[in-house]
Symmetry: C2
Subunit: 575 residues, 2 copies
């Protein structure tokens, strides 16, 4: 039964009274950070004082006593960092393991778009992520995936309409509709697409954008439709056009795309209040060795950005955009989500508080119990491969097939004509995408040049955006073997040669993530990389990430799908 307002008042009053009493100094605070120098996001300066915390909230700044006190003299206290847009799946680990990995970087809130898992499992994927992020020591908010499937060519595990998404907006952790990649659909007024925007607006929630290079009247149309942010700006000119028209700019610095240096001029007094930071995709080794939002702040400051501006962009601005009213400031009434840094040059995180509890200190994350996902959801996530075992013959085809030409250091590709056979001397390998959601038996085959493999095969179930299995090989027997290995380990990566598994990374959650810790996951991934490189994969080609983008039919020129090689420009199959 819904709680009445009187019941709510009765339930809430005692805590509120303790907050007021602690703030007024009538009782000791639960915790006091003594002698703090803190980032004041309101007055844009460093302020001094004790920071009193009670009931998970900052209650007062001044001179306070606490039941527990931590002296933070000489350090810098900041609101916890916020990642404004991330696909958690890109870390390859479960949300619990992700939390353990980013807490040491001062992240206390992430806004996640479960786009990858939703493409595999539909609303069950969203449910899984909501469950898997309950009561973590970081707050995970959600933007609902707007484009499942991403394109008409995608054979994804599910298709999500506005009716499917509608009930999720009632969840307090759901903040809106995630990156509306189908900007063409919006600008054309396509009804299915616009309906999702109307649904989010009907719940008074946000709509994030994704519109690389969109400009002029079509950009106006996209924004007028209700899309008020963008994280796909790779040059200042496009960013400032969007900002002037009212979009918030999420400056993205992730693994595949790094836009900070191109957009650094946005981090000025004129523009910075309309900017936030996000990572979008952040792979394991990057999190381990480059950090998270803290790393972006450090980069920005070493490029000459005012540290207070950078810190606000990393904390306060995202909170304001997403209407997280009690986040993003060190002030009374705000959640005690706090990062204590050594100084404003190194940005080394020393201690992290979440809702007033120490969750990271002295190099260690405080232990916490991971949410337990049982029953049908876990079963479904860990058995997401619905396909038969494959044989070499499945990849054989006697007609000429399109050749996808890799371009070093880029995710675009070239049209290199056609081939009939694998030819290692010319670096022409076979590539295929195997449908794995609905046992359709669809296997699209083609050729790829520039990957460099000399022997064996590499397969991965991370292949954007449908996450079917993409496989490349020097021979069809190993291709079938690699795909079967991926299926058998319920997802992930396999590097095989001559009927032998050289390395593998099982990703048992929807074929995208693992319950293993990030460090272990990264080791397995690095082993697999080394194995792939030993098989000949060219320097400058990431054996798995490069592959994972080759099925994305929105990036020119040639792509491989479950139905064969696809020409992005003409939007037609080559074969």
């Amino acid at each position: 039964m819904k709680e009445s307002m009187s019941q709510r008042v009765e339930r809430k009053y005692p805590g509120k009274k303790r907050v007021i009493d602690a703030a007024a100094g009538r009782r000791d605070a639960d915790l006091v950070l003594k002698n703090a120098s803190f980032i004041n996001v309101f007055s844009n300066e460093i302020c001094e004082g004790d920071i009193a915390i009670s009931e998970g909230l900052i209650v007062g700044i001044g001179s306070y006593k606490g039941e527990r006190e931590i002296d933070v003299s000489g350090k810098i206290v900041s609101p916890g960092f916020i990642d404004a847009h991330i696909h958690l799946e890109s870390s390859l680990v479960s949300p619990s393991e992700f939390a353990k990995a980013v807490l040491p970087h001062g992240t206390t809130t992430v806004v996640c778009d479960p786009h990858e898992i939703a493409n595999v499992m539909g609303t069950d994927g969203i449910d899984y992520m909501i469950k898997a992020t309950e009561n973590l020591p970081i707050d995970v908010h959600f933007m609902l995936p707007s484009c499942v499937p991403s394109t008409p060519e995608d054979e994804s595990g599910a298709k999500l309409s506005f009716e499917d998404l509608d009930p999720y907006f009632e969840n307090g952790r759901v903040l809106g509709l995630a990156e509306m990649m189908n900007y063409e659909g919006v600008c054309d007024g396509d009804k299915d697409t616009v309906s999702k925007i109307l649904t989010s607006q009907g719940h008074h929630k946000k709509i994030d954008g994704h519109a690389p290079g969109l400009s002029g009247k079509r950009l106006n149309a996209y924004i007028a439709a209700g899309v008020y942010s963008d994280h796909e700006c790779s040059d200042f000119e496009n960013a400032i056009e969007k900002l002037r028209l009212g979009q918030f700019i999420m400056i993205r610095e992730g693994t595949a795309a790094k836009n900070l240096s191109a957009l650094i001029s946005l981090l000025s007094p004129e523009y910075s209040s309309r900017c936030m930071f996000c990572t979008d995709d952040k792979h394991p080794s990057d999190i381990l060795f480059e950090g998270h939002i803290d790393g972006i702040v450090k980069k920005a400051v070493s490029a000459g950005v005012d540290p207070i501006v950078a810190m606000k962009v990393a904390t306060h601005n995202a909170a304001r955009y997403f209407l997280l009213n009690n986040k993003g400031a060190v002030a009374p009434g705000y959640l005690a989500d706090i990062a204590v840094l050594d100084n404003l040059e190194n940005f080394e995180v020393k201690t992290v508080l979440k809702r007033g509890k120490v969750v990271f200190d002295n190099g260690r994350v405080t232990e916490f119990s991971s949410p337990i996902i049982d029953g049908r959801l876990r079963e479904k996530a860990e058995n997401s491969f619905c396909m038969r075992a494959l044989f070499a013959d499945d990849f054989k085809n006697n007609s000429p097939l399109g050749i996808i030409g890799l371009v070093k250091g880029e995710i675009i590709s070239e049209n290199l004509g056609k081939a009939e056979n694998i030819d290692v001397s010319e670096d022409i390998l076979k590539v295929a995408v195997v449908e794995r959601h609905k046992n359709t038996g669809h296997i699209g085959v083609g050729f790829i040049k520039g990957y460099g493999l000399k022997r064996g095969s590499v397969a991965t179930s991370i292949s954007h955006d449908s996450h079917n299995i993409i496989v490349v090989g020097e021979n069809e027997e190993d291709m079938a073997f690699a795909v079967n290995k991926v299926k058998e380990q319920r997802g992930g990566i396999a590097v095989v040669d001559n009927g032998r598994v050289l390395a593998s990374l099982p990703l048992e959650i929807a074929g995208l993530m693992t319950n293993k810790p990030l460090l272990e996951t990264n080791s397995l991934l690095e082993n697999a990389k080394t194995a792939a490189e030993k098989l000949g994969v060219s320097k400058g080609v990431d054996p798995f990430m490069t592959l994972s983008f080759m099925s994305l039919t929105v990036i020119p020129e040639y792509r491989i799908t479950t139905k064969g090689v696809f020409d992005v420009s003409s939007r037609k199959y080559v074969n």
Copy 2:
């Protein structure tokens, strides 16, 4: 029956499609402001372009064609002005007449606290104001009165608990809880007071503050409790303390209190994003001759404030604070609430659009029909005096009574001892407050010095905050006559001498407002002032406003209530 999301999508899609089509240039916009120079609140500069408007929204900036076009070359286009906190009742006219008066000043949105009428009529007063502001050409939003009655001494017409306020938060035009004047109650954790804050928070709505001079730990407590704004800063030091602790500062420039010059340093790049403008109380002649928010902007700019900063404070910042997501910017998707100004020196408003319609142009407000309030509500508002007719004897009292000493140019007063009789040669007059809501027969009598009246009597039903009738006189016969005149005309002001009405201003709506136009109301008010001055009222004393504050038992030193003279410091009755 509640509309389903599918129904909502069907209903909303056609309009959204027209917006998108107009933005994309596939059809002509409804209206285009050609060749505009407009305030860009995002990039903090003046930008150029045509402004295309469809379906009441700005849909595009660039080069557009419209079914109707207005050339605005050489002028400045700004978002419409927002008054962040006003008691509409202080204009003495109905909301419709108020709208007609402020539209020529570019005001398109006001956030109103119906505190005065609620003190007379309780929730019926709130209902009345909600009805009376429906579909006006300005948007009237509400903050719910938090302190009815204002003090334990007040014999008001109603008492509002959190339970009474709770249902109003469901109204989309209600943005939160208005100025929490009982800051002592909040800081002490008083349950009734805190319950109102919890109720507003339970609806995810704002809580405005009112805490002159509050500082240190008690200020922390007030803010930690959830009060995130203040409009009672009269010096920079107190304002910056509040701003640093996270409160938004409403810089007030009204009739009784003018804080702009003391707070002008807040209008800097460091602090201005946390500031808005408000008038709080704005009397008829001030609106007519000083303007509204436009006047504050002009003052600020002539004091050296960057015009773009001043314009943002007057528009964008209030919209952000109150989460009016589609207001406060000239950009696609925002409401076409627009003020066209001559330039950034005069700030003369030439044309005003509300939701894309011209509502003021060429010196004329476009005609509109006032909301019709019929039945019980109107009946109640226009018959709010529940009291018997009075006689001279009602004001006679043989014991010594306290003397309230007026202080010229201030609303504080002094304790001047006691008197037994009126003594015009010493400027000792009789003053009384007559309970008028519940026919209790309570009449509090005392003396007042410094008012200057030589003959007759002045009475008004505007007397803060309960709006009983306050009357001052040189003889008891005229006092009774003046009070009876006020009652007979169903509220307002009466100036009488020797049984004759010299001037009167009827305020037939709750004894606070009239349905007459502002200009006529102001004439009657000025006539009444002149009449009062002819009876001897001292220069430098506003005959009615000064009187209206003499019943407010929160301002030191002596006040007059329905129970006699009250000592604010000791919180005891003098008699």
